[in-house]
């Protein structure tokens, strides 16, 4: 009897360790369509990507190739009016800027900048370009920026954004200006181009 209990316990333990826990990182395989950030936003990767399990925000998801410090694609999907892009550390004491329904496309880079400065402690953010561009088949904005965080590391970034049915959809790619951005920008752009609703 005792032996049996032990066997069952061991078997259960084995199952628990072998099966992928719900919060593990996942693989987004080349060519397979996936929906991201608990939304209808679908992405078809052109190469394998890592989907990070850590929740950046209620409607946000981060992907990376070599680790999010070196390259990070973040999907913000169906952000509702009155909602912040990323999770707020303290809603009352350190509120983050919110998406507003009446925001103009030209103001979306400002929303990202203010989110980086408040939520990610960025110390400098320079918009290096913003042009009208199609995203998810709608009129949107495509912009590039250079951002320096509190450690003094400078990253380059590129983003596409559009407002669909009053909700914000945005994809950003951030990587250190030195080496990594130029190395992986094309892969990130391919991800952005594959996005559909």
């Amino acid at each position: 009897m005792k032996f049996n209990t032990l066997r069952v316990a061991l078997a259960l333990a084995a199952v628990a360790t072998l099966s992928v826990p719900a919060d593990a990182h996942k693989l987004a395989e080349k060519g397979k369509v996936v929906t991201v950030a608990d939304s209808k936003l679908s992405i078809t990767p052109t190469r394998d990507w890592n989907r990070l399990s850590g929740k950046v925000g209620k409607h946000a998801e981060a992907w990376t190739l070599d680790g999010e410090q070196l390259d990070e694609v973040t999907f913000y999907a169906a952000i509702e009016p009155g909602e912040a892009l990323i999770r707020e550390r303290s809603k009352k004491k350190e509120p983050l800027p919110k998406f507003r329904k009446d925001m103009l496309l030209a103001e979306l880079p400002e929303l990202l900048e203010r989110t980086y400065r408040t939520g990610k402690d960025a110390r400098d953010f320079q918009l290096s370009g913003a042009t009208p561009g199609k995203f998810l088949g709608r009129d949107g904005v495509s912009f590039t920026y250079v951002v320096t965080d509190a450690d003094g590391l400078t990253r380059k970034g590129e983003a596409r954004a559009a407002i669909v049915d009053g909700r914000l959809y945005m994809v950003t790619f951030d990587a250190p200006r030195l080496h990594y951005f130029d190395l992986l920008a094309e892969d990130a752009r391919a991800l952005m181009a594959s996005a559909t609703l």
């Binding site: 400002e110 203010r114 110390r123 400098d124 918009l127 370009g129 913003a130 912009f143 003094g152």
Partner: protein, 394 residues
């Protein structure tokens, strides 16, 4: 238990018993640190300084750095300030710090908040006071002996881990940690006293020292009120507070300021002139922090010396980005004020156009947006703005 206490007493007493001969002040000529602790701290500080000197966040402006240095030298005396290296860093917080090896960091958020030379000199003198009194070294030694004592106490307690002994140990641990923070606050008070002593001897008005903390309290109140939080308590000392509370500092600095210095100058004009080239950028860093109350307080505080185009522009940005319909009406008015004072402020025309566009006055928005593009044909967002003007090519 009594034996335990005696043992700990011995442990605590031993480092203090090692008396040292009086050291040279750390700024004296090419001072070399003495003893393993000081040498170690200086090595770490040297390493940090190497990184700091190469940082992307360092404001490499000879005039601004030179200005801060000359103010420090005026305050603490030319013989003392020679060894100090000043680094102005882009960081929107009210802060400055000094490492044991003479590295002084001055944050841009501090420069934005102080209003004259006397206020800045107060903070510089305070930081220099930490350096001159070797506060980092003292605190390091205290923390090492304190944590040693806690570790030994844990070992001794484990020999007789009764409920009573464990509770005594926990009380002891709390008392030691509370002691670190209390000593830290005492060091801050000592540095405040040194700072005001320098200021009393300088050519500047020492009464301004207390004004800094008055403004900090007003800013914190404005920030809390805009966030719907209750008014902060400026007398409360939290267990882990690193500094004495604002109200206490304002009180003793006012009492320690030399009365005969009250009619000295505060250097507000010179300060404003030195900061002018950076004001726009420092304000921009502040208003994008999403702290509406504090930012609006700071802008209005700066405006007591006269509204400028830049101040109206930044206030417009602050209101437009908060974005309530009433804010957009106010923002349009602020941008219009900015444009009136300085018609070449391209950003103000842009903000005016965007605010009008969002308040349902798209036809009125066309002219300011066109003016923005005329003033800044190569603006990074020119394409986006063109899209909003009917008839402009995309």
């Amino acid at each position: 238990m009594r034996a335990l206490g005696a043992g700990i007493g011995l442990l605590l007493a031993s480092p203090a018993a090692a008396q040292q001969a009086a050291l040279l002040p750390p700024y004296a000529g090419v001072y070399q640190p003495k003893g393993v602790d000081e040498i170690g701290l200086w090595q770490e500080a040297d390493e940090e300084e190497r990184q700091l000197a190469a940082s992307n966040l360092l404001i490499r402006d000879e005039r601004l750095t030179g200005y801060v240095r000359s103010l420090l030298c005026d305050t603490v005396g030319a013989d003392r300030c020679g060894a100090v290296r000043i680094y102005v860093i882009r960081a929107p917080m009210f802060n400055a710090s000094m490492m044991p090896n003479g590295t002084m960091r001055v944050y841009s958020g501090l420069l934005l908040r102080v209003r004259n030379e006397a206020e800045l000199a107060t903070v510089l003198g305070h930081e220099f006071g930490h350096y001159e009194s070797r506060h980092t070294l003292t605190a390091f030694k205290e923390q090492r002996s304190g944590t040693d004592a806690v570790a030994w106490m844990a070992v001794l307690t484990s020999f007789a881990a009764t409920y009573q002994n464990v509770r005594s140990f926990q009380n002891f641990q709390l008392a030691v940690y509370g002691g670190f923070y209390r000593h830290g606050r005492d060091q801050e008070r000592e540095a405040d006293r040194l700072g005001i002593a320098y200021l009393n001897r300088s050519r500047l008005r020492p009464q301004e020292a207390s004004a800094i903390w008055q403004h900090m309290m007003e800013e914190a109140e404005a920030s809390a009120s805009a966030k719907g939080l209750k008014k902060p308590n400026f007398r409360l000392i939290a267990f882990a507070a690193s500094h004495p509370p604002y109200a206490e500092r304002a009180g003793y600095l006012a009492a320690l300021a030399a009365p005969d210095g009250a009619d000295r100058e505060d250097g507000a004009d010179r300060y404003r002139a030195a900061l002018a080239p950076f004001l726009g950028q420092f304000l921009d860093d502040q208003i994008k922090l999403n702290d509406f109350g504090a930012s609006d307080y700071l802008i209005q505080n700066l405006a007591t010396m006269g509204w400028t185009g830049t101040l109206w522009l930044k206030r417009g940005d602050l209101y437009r980005t908060r974005g309530n319909p009433r804010d957009l009406i106010a923002a349009a008015e602020f941008y219009a004020n900015a444009v009136k004072l300085d018609p070449t402020l391209a950003e103000a025309h842009r903000g005016l156009g965007l605010s009008l566009m969002k308040t349902g006055r798209a036809s009125e928005a066309v002219v300011p947006l066109q003016t923005y593009l005329t003033l800044r044909p190569d603006a990074t967002d020119a394409g986006m703005i063109k899209m909003m003007i009917p008839g402009e090519s995309k």
